[in-house]
Amino acid sequence: MARILIVDDDPSFGQIMKRKLERAGFEVTMRDGPFGTIGELKRGGYDALLLDVLMPALDGGTLVQLIRGTESIRAVRVLLCSSMDALELKGLAEKLHVEGYIPKSTPLDEMVATVRAVLNQPAAS
C-alpha cells in the first residue's frame, strides 16, 4: 500500500484529500502546516507528498527546494496542490521540476488518478 503525506495549512481541504485517498486504498498522513515536514518524510518512508503551495509560514516552493537538498528524502515524488490559478500552478510545477500538480478544483476521482499516475512513475534519482 502506497504511503502519502499531505501538507496543507487548510485543514478542511486536507481532510477531504485524506478521506478520499484513504477510500482509494492509500495510507495517508496529514500535517496542517509546513514545519516538521522534512522530519516526517525522513521518519515515514513516504511514496509521495501532496504539498500545498501558498502557506504563509513557509511556502511550498521553498519546501520543495529543502526536500531536494536533503539526500535521504530527495527522491520522494512531490505533487503541488493549490487553489491558485491552474496555469500558474502548472508553471510553478515545471519550474520546480516536481512530478505532478493538482488544482484543488479538480474532481476528486481525477485527483486520485493523478496520484496513481505519479506513483507509477519511477522515483527521481
Binding site: 478542511s12 477510500r23 493549490s82 491552474a86 488544482p103 493523478t114
Partner: protein, 260 residues
C-alpha cells in the same frame, strides 16, 4: 495588481473548493451507505459551487487581461491539436446539459506560434459560453484555414434549439471594453437576462483572442467567428516541433496533472 488579483482568486477559490470537495466526498460516502435521496441534494450544492467557481475564474482572468499583465508563452503549435484538446475538455460539461460538440477540423488546419494554454482557454471559453446561452442541442465548431492567408478561422454556432428557446441570430453583442459595460445596459439574450457567467466568458474569449493577435466577431446566425494568425508549416518544422504538438512538456520526468 496582478499579484493582488492572483491572491484574491486564490482566497475566493479556497473555501469554494472545500464546499465542492466535501459535496463530492459526501455524495460518494452517502451513495455507499445507501442514502441515494441525499445525493441529489448534494449534487445541487456541488453544481452550484462549480458555476460560482467558473465565474470567479473568468472574472479574475478577465481582470488580469484588463490590466494588461497576462503573460504569454508562445510556442509552435498545431490548431488541430489544440482544438482536439479543447473538445475533449469541454465534452463532459456539455453532456451534462444535454449538448454535444460537433467538431469539424482537418488535421492540416494550420499552425502558428502562439501560447497554447491561452489559445485553449480562449476556445474553451467561447464554446462553453455559447453552450451556456443555449438549451440542449448540438454545438457546431468548424475550423478552416482562411482563404488567401495563413492562420485559422474558428466558427462556432448552436445548431439545434429546444422549443421555446432563443432563436438563432440572437447572440448578444460583446462590448468593446468590459469595464464600460454597466449592469443596466448589459446585452440581452432574446430579451431574457443574459447568463452572467456566459457573458463574462464571451468577454474573456474576445480579450484573449485579441491578446493572441486575432479577431473576434459575432455574426448573423448566432455564430461567433475567431480568426487567428498562423505561420507557414515550414516555420513550424524549422523550430523543431512535430505537427500536432500543442503543449511543451517539461524535461523528464514529466509533470503529471489533472484536468481541473
Amino acid at each position: 495588481m496582478v499579484s493582488l488579483l492572483s491572491t484574491l482568486g486564490h482566497d475566493l477559490r479556497t473555501p469554494l473548493n472545500s464546499i465542492i470537495g466535501y459535496s463530492e466526498l459526501l455524495q460518494e460516502e452517502l451513495r455507499d451507505a445507501g442514502h441515494e435521496d441525499w445525493v441529489d441534494d448534494l449534487e445541487q450544492v456541488r453544481a452550484s459551487g462549480r458555476v460560482l467557481l467558473d465565474l470567479i475564474n473568468r472574472l479574475v482572468d478577465l481582470a488580469k487581461v484588463e490590466v494588461g499583465r497576462i503573460a504569454l508563452a508562445p510556442v509552435p503549435l498545431s490548431f488541430a491539436a489544440v482544438t482536439a484538446e479543447v473538445a475533449a475538455a469541454v465534452a463532459p460539461a456539455l453532456a451534462a446539459r444535454g449538448q454535444r460538440l460537433e467538431l469539424w477540423c482537418p488535421a492540416d488546419a494550420g499552425s502558428a506560434v502562439l501560447d497554447p494554454a491561452r489559445l485553449a482557454q480562449c476556445l474553451s471559453c467561447m464554446v462553453q459560453s455559447v453552450a451556456e446561452l443555449s438549451g440542449p442541442g448540438v454545438v457546431d465548431l468548424r475550423v478552416t484555414p482562411p482563404e488567401g492567408s495563413t492562420g485559422a478561422r474558428f466558427a462556432i454556432q448552436m445548431l439545434a434549439q429546444p422549443e421555446g428557446a432563443a432563436e438563432p441570430g440572437s447572440i448578444p453583442s460583446v462590448p468593446a471594453h468590459p469595464s464600460a459595460q454597466s449592469a443596466q445596459n448589459a446585452p440581452s439574450w432574446s430579451g431574457a437576462r443574459l447568463h452572467a457567467g456566459a457573458q463574462v466568458g464571451l468577454l474573456l474569449a474576445r480579450e484573449l483572442c485579441e491578446l493572441l493577435g486575432g479577431e473576434f466577431q459575432v455574426q448573423a446566425g448566432a455564430t461567433i467567428v475567431l480568426r487567428l494568425p498562423g505561420s507557414p508549416p515550414r516555420a513550424l518544422h524549422e523550430e523543431g516541433a512535430a505537427p500536432g504538438s500543442a503543449v511543451i512538456e517539461p524535461e523528464p520526468p514529466p509533470v503529471v496533472a489533472t484536468g481541473g
